[in-house]
Symmetry: none
């Protein structure tokens, strides 16, 4: 089968996602990471539309991509304008990229109502814009906006716009489902028809996920003859997002046998996905197919006992093929076999049974260990605790606006020392966190490497109002590993305290080896 050429638009269409705002430097870092992953076309922005994108292409000229082409994106010339004197095309050329992407209108209604011009003039704009860019030595990727919607209403005109691009000399003709409403089999039928009408033209597909079908539309278009796939890392994009390359790539390569990344690069997919979500400063999408933290996480007990016999029984592919890993969640649904899978090799059968009993008892009081492996690890820890709390006092004062100032006094045994200190915070939990770190840092300076990444509160049994049991989950990290801890109590400060102290104890014992030597590894 033919190989597929990948075209990433994370930095252009993907940046339309609510909540994303890249700096030019962010974009440079992502572009290089995509090139390293082996993606041959990296669309970087629309230089005519905002100054940040112009700056990005300038930075990229200083530090060019290796093994990939940067692509600048823009529209055809305006109605009535000659291509040679059009400002948008001039900005596109100024970006200095080897390849450019040019979008034009395929849907007749968008031409007459949206652009307010004639159908004939639109064909001229497409043909002459492409031809002008070709004369300037650019590789031209023509994006046919709303092709599927336009084709449904007026197939002859939609085809005429594609012919205009081909007549201008376009190197690729990409069929865009801009509104994301097309079903896979309908998309495939259009691709087949276009392929028959334009023999020898290299076709691409650009899909969106508004119907939850972005990946499926892309795969269907490839089967129907498209050889270029446009999409974004993590499916970022406006509204529901663009077609997700993190799902498309492994489907093409592992399930359909269509190579699209260089040998061995598939194993870097999970890391690349995490890198992009970090730079975009968006929380990772844990349930994401293939590359999410939970993509190979098993909870049901009946699954886990079979997994221990043979992972292929409950996994559609080995997680390491996409650089991901298997996780076993500890929970009341799964029970015994899950715990044994996670910690079995370190425990005797009697210890394992006692641990299961302890977890069950604590879960009945509101703890939840499924997302808190570090708290479970501490339950299995039999060495000396690196610190012990001797006393804590919290004072909160305020006036008309309610509680405002929080101050904590704390007394700890840390190693063999007694530490007595105090701290303030912009809330009671923050003050407790600050005081605890301050006390521990006196003995263990490495505590400053540790960060709290996430703090989650869930009120259980909501019907009991403010007297209800509260569960706190805290996620922490030290730049290399992330771990989660849990606390539960009818007192939100006590629950937070449990999760906080577990988080620091886990760091000191399991990351820094600060407990008794027996447990440090």
């Amino acid at each position: 089968m033919l190989a597929v050429t990948l075209y990433d638009t994370t930095l252009r269409d993907g940046s339309q996602r609510a909540g994303i705002s890249y700096s030019s430097q962010d974009k440079v870092r992502i572009a290089h990471r995509l090139a390293d992953l082996g993606i041959p076309y990296v669309e970087g922005g629309w230089p005519g539309s905002n100054p940040k994108d112009g700056e990005f292409f300038r930075l990229l000229r200083e530090r060019p991509l290796r093994g990939a082409k940067a692509v600048a994106f823009g529209s055809t010339c305006r109605a009535g304008n000659a291509a040679e004197s059009d400002a948008t095309l001039a900005a596109l050329l100024e970006a200095g990229t080897e390849a450019v992407a040019l979008f034009g209108k395929s849907w007749d209604y968008h031409v007459t109502r949206g652009l307010g011009t004639t159908l004939e003039e639109n064909l001229r704009m497409i043909r002459e814009s492409v031809a002008y860019l070709k004369r300037q030595g650019r590789e031209v990727v023509y994006d046919a906006e709303h092709l599927f919607d336009g084709f449904r209403r007026n197939p002859e005109y939609a085809l005429a716009t594609l012919r205009a691009a081909v007549a201008g000399g376009a190197d690729w003709v990409v069929l865009c489902d801009t509104n994301g409403g097309t079903l896979p089999e309908d998309a495939a039928a259009v691709v087949r028809r276009v392929a028959a009408e334009l023999p020898g033209v290299r076709l691409g597909i650009h899909a969106h996920d508004d119907s939850g079908l972005g990946v499926a539309v892309t795969l269907a278009a490839v089967r129907a003859g498209a050889t270029m796939v446009q999409g974004t890392i993590n499916g970022y994009g406006e509204r529901c997002g663009n077609a997700n390359l993190c799902a498309i790539i492994p489907n093409l390569q592992l399930k359909m046998g269509i190579p699209c990344l260089p040998e061995d690069k598939l194993r870097e997919l999970t890391a690349a996905s995490h890198f992009v979500s970090e730079v975009a400063n968006l929380p990772p999408w844990d349930a994401q197919p293939f590359v999410g933290r939970n993509a190979f996480a098993h909870k049901a007990g009946v699954h886990v006992s079979a997994l221990l016999k043979d992972p292929a029984m409950y996994e559609h592919l080995p997680p390491e093929t996409v650089g991901n890993e298997r996780r076993v969640l500890v929970s009341d649904v799964g029970g015994r076999s899950n715990l044994l899978a996670a910690f079995g090799d370190q425990l005797s059968p009697a210890e394992a049974a006692a641990l299961i009993q302890q977890v069950k008892e604590r879960e009945s009081r509101g703890f939840q260990y499924e997302g808190a492996e570090a708290s479970v690890a501490l339950l299995t820890y039999k060495g000396k605790a690196p610190f012990e709390v001797l006393g804590v006092k919290l004072m909160v004062t305020g006036a008309a606006d309610g509680p405002a100032e929080s101050e904590v006094a704390i007394k700890l045994r840390v190693g063999d020392q007694i530490v007595h200190t105090a701290a303030e915070g912009n809330g009671p939990v923050h003050a407790l966190d600050q005081a605890l770190r301050k006390a521990l840092t006196e003995v263990y300076p490495s505590v400053s490497r540790m960060q709290l990444l996430d703090y989650k509160v869930r009120v259980l049994e909501g019907s009991q109002g403010t007297g209800a049991v509260v569960r706190v989950l805290i996620e922490s990290g030290d730049g290399e590993e992330r771990w989660s801890t849990v606390g539960a109590s009818s007192n939100i400060l006590e629950a937070s305290w449990q999760a906080l102290t577990d988080s620091l104890a886990y760091f000191l014992i399991f990351r820094e080896g600060a407990g008794s030597t027996a447990a440090a590894d």
Copy 2:
């Protein structure tokens, strides 16, 4: 075309999602909501596997679903067991549901290696288990686990397992892609083959999203002849989740013309999706197709100006058909029409504009007024406040287990009196609540009629650890009406305090007429 029968498994397979832990009451609320939405089969849990699910079915017998069948889920009898004396089947019957779902093995390797029994014995287990449940008067939905994986390896055996279920009298035979690795066209081919081999048998599809294709596999199976669709609200489920009913339903109904919900119920889909994520206490999935907050949110300037001319140009369907709404991200006018609809008749245009401004400013600080109408009502209130806080002091002390005792001293102006009092609680928020009520009751004894019904906490901007902004939603009631209030701050006690005082102020002003006479109505 044939209508499709929807089968929801949010409460069983969906609860396998990492982070979900429903109480029995949560499950009852969701089951009733799904029945109201018009979903005819609501799978509630596996009564044999844990005590919580047994409790759920007991509660459901006290308050049965209207217009929907509750379904209990379980496995076939064990190898070597007679169906009549099998504990799993007994638990299934004990749940007392009209319909039961029974899963059995279709993949030969799972039988020999997983169950450790013979292929013949597995056929007997399926046939006799189904037949026994039928003799007990149950409608039986047979879930063929790993059907697609099994079919790929040994199609004749996979078919034999389905024939065993049919021989036992199964009412539905559901083909499950348990590991989520099957491509849509491969799934469709198997459905067509099964339909040809088992003429007259009603087939169903149960898909997972491990390949990002859960929705596509489901739609392809329906085209190939499946008439039951299993899935979950918001696509919740183990690993990457189950097939998402919130995307499947509008695709079937609006794009493929296959009715599956009663007339007009499609407009409740967005609200039902939000309800389930609230009860599950999971952050809403903003980019979710059809029902997500961003599904019809427009950011690109070029889109927005065309949208103003005609929304159909950049939307694949009108958002209101699924109960969602259009948002324009540059100037968020999302809440405006709701606000005006709720309070417009009491306000002058200038007052309405000022209110919208105030709400916008506070929402940018983390407040959310969508679910907190009582707090909005207080923003419109122009009379004298029934009480004023002059000072509050909270003292929390504890030792090794962290903060334990909470005590609050409080000073209020209530009406024309100054009240100075103190109270304890089993947590800081509870202590604040107790002190506030104690002070108010001295002047307004009716405060004792008011109850706090629910207290919810959500941490915004999770990446800032314990210094992040926290939103508190409180629901209160006086036996006749219920109302909700909101608070937001980086200090959880301040946020709780705002929602608490709003809740009491609303009661005194709008329910008891205790403010200035102008505002009492």
